[in-house]
């Protein structure tokens, strides 16, 4: 927990800039983050325009401001952040950073200090926070399962091993993917090795009640929940199609959507698995990455029938709707990851192909979508693009940036 001097200096410098003056008074705050005094806390500073950017190679996160695009400072010592992701507390003060190495770290965005850190697994892939903000859940590959923590203390409340073939000769743990929060203090997730969707009801967090849906299709690789919390959709790697659970049905049942979208053709190599989280639901359509095809699939969210497929520049990784739904932005797997494409949703056509930098890994819209931040790993920078003019409006130097997460996620289901 002891911060290197350099980091403290940076934090101090940042805090001074943030508060305008009184850096000396803030020194105590940065040096002993666990016990900030009220007089030392920054005053009149909100977090609604802040965010975290993962600097994957350095095990650091940068705290950024989206109103005047800039880096405020950095928090280091977060371990292996390849494939790291973040969820936010309801008040937007804390980011929970899930690291590849199983580290779960609670970061204060204003003091830029680590408030808690636990090593909760050997190999982790992300997490979720409950709608009421009290529970944080982590999804793990090793040991395969989900762990539920008290969001205030990071105390472990429940361990949910993803056991396949329980009691049988082949009993083992599945890697878990597609963890999302659902209304009613529930979490849904998918078992990559178990071809199943589980829903954990954490009304009593120490004794979660699990509903299991088996045989949903082969190798679910990620999932999303629609903005209204009604449909949980898992993408399948092992077959053409997606598995969907209508959570408003009693009892819910799994059905297949977009079955056979590959039309039996030989799939193209998938050099990076698409991500479904950060749903692209725009109006009455959902936009989904095809697996092994250079296409975005468009599905009607009332009938769940395919309505279009849009040819794109590579294997889509993120397919993300601008918050107003007018545009959908797509990035790609290597070797096409120097490009980003913009789909105009009324015409369902690609209207622009941008080349914002080398190795684009992630995109994040500002809360109302007037700009999008794009991480360009191999150029060591984040490009900020105006979504109306499609012009770059700022460029931030960051070390091998990957995931970008803004605090507005705190208010959105499934983020």
């Amino acid at each position: 927990m002891t911060e290197p001097i350099a980091n403290r200096r940076r934090a101090l410098k940042g805090l001074g800039a943030l508060a305008g003056s009184g850096a000396a008074a803030l020194a105590g705050c940065a040096a002993s983050p666990a016990a900030p005094t009220s007089s030392a806390a920054p005053v009149n500073v909100g977090t609604g325009d802040l965010g975290l950017v993962i600097e994957r190679a350095r095990g650091a996160v940068a705290v950024v401001n989206t109103s005047s695009p800039r880096v405020l400072g950095e928090v280091i010592g977060l371990g292996d952040l390849s494939h790291a992701s973040v969820v936010f507390s309801r008040d937007g003060l804390y980011g929970y950073v899930f690291g590849r190495d199983g580290g779960l770290t609670r970061v204060n965005l204003l003091t830029r200090a680590i408030e808690q850190r636990v090593m909760q697994a050997g190999n982790s892939i992300g997490g979720a926070i409950s709608a009421d903000g009290t529970l944080v859940a982590a999804q793990n590959y090793t040991p395969g399962g989900v762990k539920v923590f008290d969001a205030g203390t990071l105390e472990l409340l429940a361990d949910i091993p993803a056991v396949i073939d329980a009691g049988g000769p082949g009993a083992r743990l599945s890697r878990v993917v597609g963890l999302v929060d659902l209304p009613g203090r529930r979490f849904a997730f998918s078992l990559f090795d178990g071809n199943a969707i589980w829903i954990a009801d954490c009304s009593n967090a120490r004794r979660p009640v699990i509903a299991r849906y088996n045989d949903i299709g082969r190798q679910p690789y990620d999932a999303l929940v629609t903005p209204n919390g009604r449909h949980y959709i898992a993408g399948l790697f092992g077959e053409d199609g997606l598995a969907m659970l209508d959570l408003w049905e009693q009892p819910p049942r799994v059905r297949r959507i977009l079955a056979g979208y590959g039309r039996g053709e030989q799939p193209l190599p998938v050099y990076k698995m698409p991500h479904l989280r950060g749903w692209a639901v725009a109006g009455s359509h959902a936009y989904l990455p095809a697996i092994g095809r250079h296409e975005v699939l468009v599905v009607d969210t009332h009938t769940w029938a395919e309505v279009a497929r849009i040819p794109v520049a590579g294997q889509p990784v993120f397919v993300m709707a601008r918050p107003d739904g007018r545009q959908v932005w797509v990035n790609f797997a290597v070797p096409d990851y120097h490009r980003v494409q913009v789909i105009d949703t009324p015409t369902q056509k690609v209207v622009s192909t941008l080349e914002p930098g080398k190795a684009v890994l992630h995109m994040e819209f500002t809360p109302r979508g007037e700009s999008v931040w794009i991480s360009c790993r191999d150029d060591n920078r984040v490009e900020v693009v105006d979504t109306h003019s499609l012009r770059s409006i700022a460029r931030l130097a960051l070390d091998a940036p990957s995931g970008i997460f803004f605090t507005a996620r705190a208010a959105r289901m499934g983020f």
């Binding site: 290197p4 350095r58 390849s82 990559f192 690789y221």
Partner: protein
Amino acid sequence: MTAVLPISHRIALIAGLAVLAVPQAYAADAPSPARQIELVRMVRQDCGSCHGMRLTGGLGPALTREALADKPLESLAATIFAGRPGTPMPGWRAMLSENEALWIAQHLMRGFPEESGPTPKASR
């Protein structure tokens, strides 16, 4: 003659040469120093999206020296080059030559090099 052999056999042949008898022959076929830097970056960053940047595993298995201790070199090289059907592991033949796949497999088995360059190591 080699051209008609299946890929796995060709790789086995190359591997045999390199490991058993003629290290000079392998060295002659080794990627250039500049290409080696690219390959190290590719493994750490792009393979890392499934296997972890530190190669400790993810959706794909761990590729550390310990994890690969009992794996045959030629099968690793063939998996890198041609993929593994039924799993998410794609073949990287569009981006790698067979020699380069072999070079990567050999270096994985020895404990893969870290990226050198501007990225400083994280303080722990």
